[in-house]
């Protein structure tokens, strides 16, 4: 079963992304939304962890949430796809279920 995980917390604030990455199975997808958008950036203390995850998980970040926070799209880690709300909807359709890590 293929799951889409959504994470909405900065990894600098809460550990929900860490829990998600630990429990998500190979081939699952993770979409970073709201404050979790910051986790998609290069040059942070969490970059290595996220980079490693892109090898076994499909990683996405919601572009409008990057923009709303003034986070440059140029700084997004290679291997993380920047998506809009239309693609967010498509991702939910492509996976069997959605797990929101609140």
């Amino acid at each position: 079963m293929s799951l889409l995980h959504t994470v909405n917390k900065s990894p600098f604030e809460r550990n929900s992304l860490e829990s998600c990455l630990r429990l998500a199975e190979d081939g699952h997808a993770v979409l970073l939304i709201e404050d979790a958008a910051v986790a998609a950036l290069n040059g942070t203390a969490h970059t290595e962890t996220i980079k490693n995850a892109t090898g076994r998980l499909s990683m996405y970040v919601l572009g409008p949430d990057l923009d709303a926070r003034g986070l440059s799209r140029d700084r997004v880690i290679d291997g993380i796809e920047i998506v809009d709300y239309d693609r967010f909807v498509t991702l939910t359709c492509e996976h069997d279920s959605v797990q929101s890590w609140l």
């Binding site: 909807v89 959605v98 609140l102």
Partner: protein, 130 residues
């Protein structure tokens, strides 16, 4: 595809309601159906018609009402969460001896069973909260 949407946070406090709205709009534009939007916990505050946000800010409550009217959406506030927070429709106001009701157009108040039913009837349940 049929979507159920759960909103657990109130307007202007957390991004959850905004994210849920953007998602709902994108889903409807893509031709999907939204079976129900269920507002739980502080999320019930999205359903008060007495909010008056500054004119240059988005009106979160009106936005939901307008989307409901346009697409015939079922917007449901959890009754227990609503009563605790002073969200009443005319029937509830009368039953509890209150002098006013404040539910916004397009919203209705019902029980938690409506969330369970939405989860069963929808192909996907997407949760927005804190």
């Amino acid at each position: 595809m049929k979507f159920g949407i759960l909103v657990n946070e109130g307007p202007y406090q957390h991004q959850a309601s905004d994210s849920a709205y953007q998602f709902a709009q994108a889903a409807l534009t893509a031709g999907h159906e939204i079976y129900r939007v269920f507002f739980y916990h502080d999320g019930v505050n999205n359903g008060t018609r007495l909010t008056v946000p500054p004119q240059d800010d988005r009106n979160v409550v009106d936005r939901w009402s307008e989307l409901a009217e346009k697409h015939d959406l079922d917007l449901v506030l959890c009754v227990a969460a609503a009563q605790r927070r002073g969200l009443l429709d005319a029937d509830e106001a009368q039953r509890h001896g209150k002098d006013a009701d404040n539910i916004a157009p397009g919203f209705r108040i019902s029980g938690l069973g409506q969330l369970i039913e939405a989860a069963i009837q929808s192909d996907r349940l997407v949760t927005f909260g804190d």
